[in-house]
């Protein structure tokens, strides 16, 4: 089975929770965003505590949990926005 590589970026309180700006993940082909989330929540319990309040984007667009990730995707994980 082929592997794909995706980059994950963290922002604001999500960055504080992981203590990192980004991570590179090797995933099985056809991994869904929901599965990646499980991987990340397992690694960073502080991030997992934010649970469903976190927002997720793939390649600069908000994404739903069942989207299939592709090689080179840039995933972003962040809390509800507070600009304006």
């Amino acid at each position: 089975m082929n592997e794909i590589q995706v980059t994950v970026l963290f922002f604001a309180a999500a960055r504080d929770a992981t203590a990192t700006e980004s991570t590179t993940e090797l995933l099985a082909e056809n991994t869904r965003l929901a599965d990646l989330r499980t991987v990340l929540f397992t690694r960073w319990p502080q991030l997992a505590r934010y649970g469903s309040a976190l927002l997720w984007a793939v390649n600069n667009q908000y994404a739903s949990s069942d989207v299939c990730l592709r090689a080179g995707d840039v995933v972003a994980c962040f809390p509800p926005v507070s600009g304006g």
Partner: protein, 167 residues
Amino acid sequence: MISLTDQDIDIAGLTDLVRHDSAGAVVVFLGTVREFTRGVQTKSLEYTAYAEMARVSLQQLEAEARQRFPIIEVGIIHRTGALSLGDVSVAIAVSTPHRAEAFAAGQWIIDTLKIRVPIWKKEHYSDGREEWQHPGLPSPTESLGAPSEIPNFAADRIAAKDSAGDQ
């Protein structure tokens, strides 16, 4: 026109940009740094953006506003970095043929921007504390259900909020 900038926003320039002979109305909205929020004194603010996505998101916001309202010209500028009391964090200018549309468009743009565009505010309070503002995020010490129990994801939630409108 959309812009993300770490410099003072040129409000007069933004206003002139949207003025037009076909327009009967211009509405300009400015978000400014407020000293007191729920009794807590703010000393300064810091805005951090996921800049690449924020620009894409602002462009989509402009395009959707133009579909929803009879906009002649529109400009949206969001500030990043450190801001002091009274500084302008966001400026939106919109021109339309008639006034009701200009108010409606300006209000829709700022309401939607505040739900969608990936920018976060960190408040520096006068008592020395600092705090990210992230409406709806549980405190990191609150315990939540396991990840697998969590049903909704970003895209669905953003869409739901947009259609419901906000307060």
